[in-house]
Structure formats: structure tokens, C-alpha cells
């Protein structure tokens, strides 16, 4: 999902750089105030860890293999603010030392994988864990969060490519999201397995997702919410809304750009239409809904492995009851 240079146009480069700058800046500001000094070396080592962990290959059918991305994993272990900074550091090193992802596209890559992938995934994790409660529920929530984070990042990435005029929205969204529904499933399984091993040997390493609600915490929450919402408004909403010309028209009226928006609906792509479905985008949305159910089920099965019944009986905390 690393976008190289040359794929994004100027307005997308500026918009993504501004959004990720705000999100990373807000995270750094909060960490400067609240992070214990002890934890600073841990962040550097966590960044090195994510890099090293991405070199462990997991076999997939057909002779190919995939690797962890790690956004939700770091957010669950270190909290979302540290997760964003760690992922940004990994992406900066990959960009500067390996040319893996472009320099001008760095803002976009940090926004997709570092901000949306981490905050989005952590948000889903926290919401689902809040509803389900129990310790097994936590692992179901981790699976759904890791899956959702991959899909969200892919969606925003497709929107950026479409907004730049590199690829039409229908094709980019359909291809990116369908591929990443499978990749996300792998991410979910790896994240849950890794966290279950960590929980078994070092339970103290888990941060409590229901953090104390300080003022900094609210500021951060609002900043993440606003940047994510703006990202979706810029990159996804113009194409996904039922009135696709609304924002485009408004933006054109303001004179921000000329005719550089892609003709989102002109390419027919007959091969993509699933029989009985109106459009590939709608079909992808349906597949996404089915995928969510599948991920909940997979997450439940994984949670049974991750949290054996014996450890449930031993749990003394309030949420330690059985999963329904």
C-alpha cells in the first residue's frame, strides 16, 4: 500500500501532508507532555520492532506470503498516540532509506497507514471491546479492528489515487478494497495470535484501551476525529456520495482546481460487474458487509484459542465473564 512518487498530484500531496502533519504533531505534543521518560526508548525500539517484524513472512495459499503491517498491534500495546508516531517513524525510514513509498507521497502514506490505519483500527477495537466487554471480547475486537484498519487505509488510498486522476474511483476502490479484505484477514489473524502470545507471557504489556479522560485526551480525540473526517471528506466522499457532483462542483466553484478530477463514472469495466448487482462499488460494499460478519466469526474462533477457558476462570476483573 506504499504509494510511490509520481502517482499523486499537487493538491493531494498538500492535503495529505497537512492532515498527517496535524495528526502526528498533535500526537507528539501529547506524548511530550504525558509520556513517562522511561517510555521514550521503548518507542524507538517499537519502531525497530515493527520493521523487523515485517520481515517475518507468513505463508499464504499459492506459494505467496504476506507480512504484518502492525498499526493496530502497536496501538493496542502502546496506545494510539505512540502508535501513530511509531508508524510514522517506520514509514519515514522506509521512504528515506529504501525508497519504499515516495517522499512527496510520504504524507499520504503516513495518513493512510499511520493515522487512518492506526486510529481507525484502534477506534474500532475500542468500540467493539466496549460493547463485548469480556477478555475474549477484547480479542474479537482486536481482530475486527485490525481488519477494519486495513480496509479503511485501502479505501482512503484508493480515494487519493482517484482524486489525483491516476486511477478511476470505481476501479481503484473495487481493486484495493477487495484485495485488502483478504490481506486484512491475514493482518487480523497475525495481530490476534501475536497479542495472545504476549498476553500469555507478559500480561502487563497491554495498555488499557479505556484511558483516563484527561483534557489532553479530549484534544487528541477531537484532532484525530477531525483529521480522519476531513480525509474521508476529501478523498472518499466526492466519489461515494449518492450525488457525486456536489463537492466537486463546490470545489470547482471555489476555483481550487480546474478539470483535473477524474471522470469517475465514464469507464464501463464490464468485467467487474457481479450479476444482480448494480455496480462494482455496490458489490464491494456488500462484500464488505459479509466480510465484517466473517471477521467477527473468525475473531470469535481466534479468541477461543487466545483466551482458553482455564484463564477465564482465573480472571478476577469485572469483565472476566464468559463471552456470549
Amino acid at each position: 500500500m506504499h504509494i510511490p512518487d509520481g502517482f499523486l498530484d499537487t493538491k493531494t500531496v498538500i492535503a495529505t501532508a497537512a492532515l498527517s502533519g496535524v495528526a502526528v504533531g498533535a500526537s507528539l505534543r501529547t506524548l511530550n507532555r504525558s509520556l513517562p521518560r522511561r517510555q521514550v526508548p521503548l518507542m524507538g525500539l517499537a519502531a525497530a520492532f515493527v520493521f523487523a517484524a515485517q520481515m517475518v513472512n507468513f505463508p499464504i495459499a499459492g506459494g505467496t506470503s504476506g507480512h504484518l503491517m502492525g498499526g493496530v498491534l502497536t496501538a493496542v500495546l502502546l496506545g494510539p498516540a505512540a502508535g501513530i508516531v511509531v508508524m510514522a517513524a517506520v514509514l519515514i525510514v522506509q521512504c528515506l532509506l529504501f525508497a519504499d513509498g515516495g517522499v512527496l507521497a510520504l504524507g499520504a502514506n503516513i495518513f493512510n497507514m499511520g493515522v487512518i490505519g492506526t486510529v481507525g483500527g484502534f477506534g474500532i477495537y475500542r468500540a467493539v471491546y466496549g460493547i463485548l466487554g469480556s477478555e475474549r471480547g477484547r480479542f474479537i475486537a482486536i481482530a475486527v479492528g485490525a481488519w477494519g484498519s486495513t480496509i479503511l487505509a485501502a479505501t482512503v488510498c484508493a480515494g487519493e489515487l482517484a482524486w489525483s486522476g491516476t486511477a478511476p474511483w470505481d476501479a481503484a476502490f473495487t481493486a484495493m478494497v477487495n484485495v485488502h479484505m483478504l490481506i486484512g484477514l491475514g493482518e487480523a489473524v497475525i495481530t490476534v495470535l501475536v497479542l495472545s502470545v504476549i498476553r500469555a507471557s507478559r500480561p502487563g504489556l497491554f495498555t488499557d484501551p479505556l484511558m483516563p479522560r484527561t483534557r489532553d485526551h479530549y484534544v487528541l480525540f477531537v484532532t484525530y476525529g477531525v483529521t480522519a473526517a476531513l480525509g474521508i471528506a476529501f478523498f472518499v466522499a466526492p466519489f461515494a456520495s449518492p450525488l457525486p457532483d456536489g463537492l466537486e462542483h463546490a470545489v470547482a466553484q471555489l476555483g481550487i482546481h480546474g478539470s483535473s478530477l477524474p471522470p469517475a463514472t465514464t469507464s464501463p469495466m464490464p468485467g467487474y460487474v457481479i450479476p444482480g448487482m448494480g455496480s462494482p462499488v455496490a458489490a464491494t460494499a456488500v462484500a464488505g458487509a459479509i466480510g465484517t460478519v466473517v471477521v467477527f466469526f473468525v475473531g470469535y474462533l481466534l479468541a477461543r484459542i487466545a483466551v482458553p477457558a482455564s484463564s477465564l476462570r482465573g480472571a478476577t476483573d469485572a469483565g472476566g465473564e464468559k463471552t456470549g
Binding site: A46, A48, A52, M55
Partner: protein, 203 residues
């Protein structure tokens, strides 16, 4: 153990290596920016930039085979996005433009990374007032990444020598390696913190 794992050729000695890192960083960013912004029809620009980069490769003494291999290694990332461009009505033009532009940018960044030590780039970032915490995280990451990669490789070697299964890891084993890599990273972070504090480190 491979100490020069990341920026293998960054510490060679050549006219290109001796240029000040801030000048090199600015030049590379300017070149990437120009390449993305210049219209595709301006053939003279693309020809001259390509020739210029080839000249830099020759001057820098970074092995040509290494540059070509790295460039080929990065092509799947380009190809993955280019495929999507073919769904546009003007697919061929967009694809050709994107492939040419992104490859020039890739070559530029590869040359920057392999003629400038990462610590020098971090020095430039500090001078231009990049957030201190971010620079600290980056420099710690750069310092420890080869140790952790080495540790991961040792764990995989240990797995291979104990389980007589040909080929690849199972998911459970892979997850175990990743999990213990994290646990060892936290333990190392504790020791690093103690060592840094003992030497008078302040945030």
C-alpha cells in the same frame, strides 16, 4: 551479523558522498518535486534528468548492479498502482507518465540514501527544528533495527534447526517469533533507558 544492513553504501568515499547532506537532501527533494510537477510532454527535461542521475551513479561508486537490483525490487509497488491506471480511458498515457516519473523519483531517493549516512540526514532534520521526540525515535530506530532484524533471523534459524519441517513457518510459530521479538524489544528498551540515564540523557 550484518552491521551495515540498512544504508550499505552510505559511507563510501566519493565526490557525491562528500557533498553536504543538507544540500543533497534539498537537491533530491527539488528533483522529485520538479519531476512530479513537470508536464509529461517536456521530453528534454526527462532525458536530461535521467542522464544526470546516471552520471551521479557513476560518480558515487555505488555498484550499478546494486542500484538496478533495488530499482527492480521496487517495481511491484509501481506496477500495483499502474494496473489501476489502465481503467482510465487514456490508460496508456497515464501509465507511461506514471512509470517514468516514479522511476526517476525512486532512483533519486535510492542515490540519496546510499550516498548519505542516515545520521547525517537526522542532523539536517534537527537543524531544521523537526520535533525532538520524532528525531529521537528515528535515531533509536536506526541504531537498533539491525540488532532486532538479526535477533529475528536468529530466532527463525533456531526454529529451523529444531523443527524438521521443510520450508516455511506455520502461522503459530511466526506469531510466536513476532511476539517474543516485541517482548525482547521492551526488555532491551529498559536496558537502553538505564544506560542512557546513566550517561546523563535528557529528553
Amino acid at each position: 551479523m550484518r552491521h551495515n544492513y540498512i544504508d550499505r553504501y552510505a559511507r563510501l568515499d566519493s565526490p557525491v558522498h562528500r557533498i553536504r547532506p543538507d544540500v543533497k537532501l534539498a537537491a533530491a527533494l527539488g528533483l522529485v518535486l520538479a519531476t512530479v510537477a513537470v508536464p509529461f510532454s517536456l521530453t528534454a527535461y526527462f532525458v536530461s534528468v535521467t542522464l544526470f542521475l546516471i552520471l551521479i551513479v557513476a560518480l558515487s561508486r555505488v555498484p550499478v548492479s546494486f542500484v538496478v537490483r533495488r530499482l527492480l525490487l521496487l517495481q511491484p509497488f509501481v506496477a500495483g498502482v499502474v494496473v489501476l491506471a489502465f481503467f482510465r480511458p487514456d490508460g496508456w498515457t497515464v501509465a507511461a507518465r506514471v512509470v517514468l516519473k516514479s522511476n526517476i523519483c525512486l532512483l533519486t531517493m535510492l542515490l540519496l540514501a546510499n550516498t548519505t549516512p542516515f545520521s547525517a540526514l537526522l542532523g539536517v532534520l534537527t537543524r531544521f527544528r523537526a520535533p525532538g521526540l520524532l528525531v529521537t525515535v528515528l535515531s533509536l530506530m536506526y541504531r537498533y533495527v539491525f540488532l532486532l532484524v538479526d535477533q529475528g533471523e536468529r530466532m527463525m534459524r533456531a526454529r529451523r534447526s529444531r523443527t524438521f519441517v521443510r520450508g516455511r513457518l506455520s502461522w503459530m510459530t511466526g506469531a510466536g517469533i513476532v511476539a517474543h521479538l516485541f517482548i525482547r524489544s521492551t526488555e532491551r528498551a529498559e536496558r537502553v533507558y538505564a544506560a542512557m540515564t546513566a550517561r546523563g540523557w535528557r529528553v
